[in-house]
Symmetry: C2
Subunit: 305 residues, 2 copies
């Protein structure tokens, strides 16, 4: 069964939103595509690249705002941008989702589908579901894709090929809505995995959010130590570069993700600290065997994964 | 001024030792090259690849032994292997250096140069210097090079091109010895940096040894958390893969490095724990600004490096 949307609205036309637009275009899955964003320059670029047909620009404070503040918007831009759309894709920072959903709710047509590409699910999915009116369906999504570069100029219809995309249906999710969103991701070349929203957040707190916190912390650790005139970052040590590459990730985006998922993240940090404490104990006592056992266990797990 | 060694002995003919042999060959810097190692299969491979002319095999317990145990060797293999050599390169695990040096000391010819490629310097350099007889010169070396693969079959004369190599002369290092070893690394294409052995260990505790401990710890953290039937490692999350790639590093090698440099490493771990604690505090209190400031600082440092 093929899927087709007469009108799709993408809120936040960056690397992920733009790449998804490229898939919808390339596979002829959409009649017209509308973009909403805060930077007109970026939206013009997206239009020039043929990813969107037209756009609404909303340069207000909605995007950079703190993630936990609640409240509606002043303008009607969002409402205009989503009216008559069959599919609305939230691909702005996760901290903006709830505000946007509250703003657009009454303007969405009956049977519209709303989905997102955010890195946190859990409570946020529940809050979004509660904020949307009857008759509008939501499915949370999280494509495990990305690359060094960000921004719409890096967008590509190939981005999701061979990658995994997690969808987090709840008991409120209509079965046909799930099937439609799943089909879209499969058209993009993704391997779709269904997961409970809470489990998603627990897993990603550990395999994604914790690594980001560690990377930021490791860079700051090096910066705060005193090595005299030697600049340790200039030595290009590969292990350090590997572990800190993601410290270049957008700070606002990661602040939002970490705060939204802070209960799970704190739990993961605590678990990590426990393991680190064990290793420290072996180092302090010079316990070769214990240290070796920990390192060997990690290597074995790594190689079997 | 060109350099030439009539006879070079490489102890431990793996990726680094083999690549250095390839440089000496390719640039015609050595008359003959002798290899010493614990695996005859590996040494035969090195000979077949034309990296060494002949070898001595020492399958004894010297290599896998615990790093802090001191004591001589039974056999005379090492003595035979280094006799008449102008240059002896220690490229076995750092835990074996002191034992080897004590074994070969009396067999080294006057004016022989001993150098190494190990990841720890500091006290080890002083101990090696003290163990070597008068008239033999030592310069500690640490090429910042490596790749995914290990073993002599991955050896390449190109490995060191464009990389950095740290040499750690002390007040006991003869100036001409330093110049000769420096020239060898420059011939290999390395950018040579001189550094105090203690500073080297402080810097590398933070930019290399700490990242390895973190990587091993992160893998074990994930393994010890319960996600039901979901295997978080199967999700191929890029940030996690980046941070844990080096958890595939040889456990024995890293046990030795960590134990040799444990005072500095413990200090680095403590500093890292402090930074992590700060981030945890911001997460616990939902302090958006503090969290953002830490993330922004890390990104700025990362981008300026």
């Amino acid at each position: 069964m093929g899927i087709f949307f007469n009108r799709v609205t993408i809120i936040g036309v960056g690397l992920i939103g733009g790449s998804l637009a490229s898939v919808l275009r390339g596979k002829s899955l959409a009649g017209e595509i509308c973009g909403i964003g805060r930077s007109e320059e970026n939206l013009q670029k997206a239009k020039r690249l043929g990813l969107i047909d037209y756009y609404f620009c909303e340069p207000s404070e909605i995007f950079p705002g703190p993630p936990l503040v609640k409240g509606g918007l002043g303008g009607g831009i969002y409402s205009d941008g989503v009216r008559d759309s069959d599919l609305v894709i939230l691909s702005s920072p996760v901290g903006t989702f709830l505000k946007i959903v509250k703003e657009i709710g009454t303007s969405l047509k009956k049977k519209a589908i709303v989905t997102d590409v955010g890195s946190v699910k859990g409570d946020l999915v529940r809050e979004i579901e509660e904020a949307l009116p009857e008759g509008v369906s939501f499915v949370g999504g999280h494509p495990i894709a990305g690359k060094e570069t960000s921004g719409v100029e890096a967008a590509s219809g190939e981005l999701f090929k061979g990658s995994k995309c997690i969808l987090t249906p709840t008991d409120r999710t209509a079965k046909d809505t799930l099937e439609i969103v799943k089909s879209m991701w499969e058209e993009a070349g993704s391997d779709v995995i269904l997961m409970d929203p809470s489990l998603h957040d627990r897993v990603f707190a550990t395999v994604s959010h914790l690594p980001h916190v560690i990377a930021y912390a490791l860079v700051n650790t090096v910066a705060r130590m005193d090595f005299g005139e030697t600049d340790p970052l200039s030595l290009s040590v590969r292990s350090f570069r590997d572990l800190t590459r993601i410290a270049s990730s957008p700070p606002e985006m990661w602040r939002d993700i970490c705060l939204y998922n802070r209960v799970n993240l704190l739990n993961s940090i605590n678990s990590f600290e426990e393991v680190l404490k064990t290793l420290k104990g072996y180092l302090e006592k010079g316990e070769e065997k214990g240290l070796l056992r920990e390192f060997e266990e990690a290597r074995r797990l790594k190689e079997n994964s």
